[in-house]
Point group: C2
Chain length 245, copies 2
């Protein structure tokens, strides 16, 4: 069995998210596994670096799969590209050492959230950003962002009520950048809980609107209660951006 690393890009608009759900169609993982099974004529299990929710996009989602094949990576990549729908792209394919696993080997992940911050509509970003026309105090958002960094129990920023795994994550960087009317929020960390980036974004937006104080962030974290944090920003503004191995 050879081990492959496949980097995907996708427009999540018409999918039910990354992870397959039994026999329900419409997830990206299920779509890709079906396609790989057909090309390689064997059952293939595809692992992504992490899940993305329905409507969330990926600039780069690193995946891995094992297969018994004589095809070289270039030919296999071409075949995959030929059969993918136009909203899923295969960026690269390479053979890896047997121990490589897209999720388990991942050391760091980056997500980017785009906020269209203008009362003028932007039709081209409508599926790729959250439209928020309110004035946002970005320096308050930056002060809040700094207070969220570090290793914490992020239960307040998680939508799942019962978690099997540890809710502790290391949030290493939040970068805010304004490019014209677009506000770009980049989150880098060891990993993220369910909906964590969207709740972090919603909370930062509430700080930007003046609905909460930047200085309250430590209290929000220590509450370990979803009610203490802000709203869950909509899926369409979120991109899984890159992974470090």
């Amino acid at each position: 069995m050879r081990n492959f690393k496949l980097c995907l890009s996708y427009d999540g608009s018409r999918y039910r998210g990354w992870q397959k759900q039994g026999n329900t169609p419409g997830t990206i993982q299920e779509k890709l596994e079906t396609l790989l099974c057909r090309i390689l004529e064997q059952p293939v299990e595809l692992h992504g670096s992490g899940r993305t929710d329905a409507g969330v996009h990926a600039r780069c989602q690193t995946c891995s799969f094992k297969a018994d094949t004589a095809l070289d990576s270039g030919t296999l990549l071409e075949l995959i590209r030929r059969y993918l729908p136009e909203d899923i792209g295969a960026l690269s394919l390479e053979e890896m050492e047997p121990a490589f696993h897209a999720r388990l080997s991942c050391r760091e992940k980056t997500y980017v959230y785009f906020i269209w911050n203008s009362s003028k509509p932007n039709v081209f970003y409508r599926k790729y950003s959250f439209s928020c026309p309110d004035a946002l105090d970005t320096s308050a958002m930056e002060r809040a962002a700094i207070l969220l960094l570090g290793e914490h129990d992020f239960t307040s920023f998680c939508s799942l009520k019962r978690m099997k795994k540890s809710p502790i994550r290391d949030l290493r960087q939040i970068k805010l950048e304004r490019r014209g009317d677009m506000l770009r929020l980049e989150f880098t960390g060891s990993g993220f809980l369910y909906n964590m980036v969207r709740i972090l974004t919603g909370t930062l937006i509430e700080v930007g609107r003046g609905e909460r104080e930047a200085e309250d962030m430590p209290a929000v974290i220590s509450a370990r209660n979803r009610q203490a944090a802000g709203f869950t920003a909509p899926a369409q503004g979120l991109f899984l951006w890159e992974q470090v191995y």
Copy 2:
């Protein structure tokens, strides 16, 4: 009757172009006129700065219309925004002097064509660019672009066989810019013939691929024959960008 200038932005993907065609629905002009008639409770004729083909986008399409109304521009703009579909945006609305006409008063127009020039797919630009993975010699394209500038009979760059009006246009500027894997072609002129920007783009791509010589451009112009020029680049890469009055 008051005279208004309305700036629109639209994603042309699901429309049959700008200009209304009898009673056939699906054009942007027809969509807007219906909406303005309903809001203003009177027949409204909307003039755009020019037509865009099916699938062509507009970053800014300046329009004008006359109406008998007591509504101030701000309120009217809000009403228009409330009823527009998500792929058409109203950027601004202002009252103008009676002589202003979006098409007749227009002194200069700019179109931008985006070419995604990589073998790696880009799913987010799939509806907003032409994907051309071939190596393109941009310095040859720039040499060709310079030879296309000026006041010429552009019949070779027009899809319509019988033209009522003069085929002479003043092509004032072509700017080529590479931003990573995206090639951006900006065309500015007094006006453009039917499909002219798409045929200019197709011809420049053929020069870039080495299929024609940059130095042949004067002969292509003087042939005054559609067959002498290159292919018509697809609609989805083209944006009506701005107008000067």
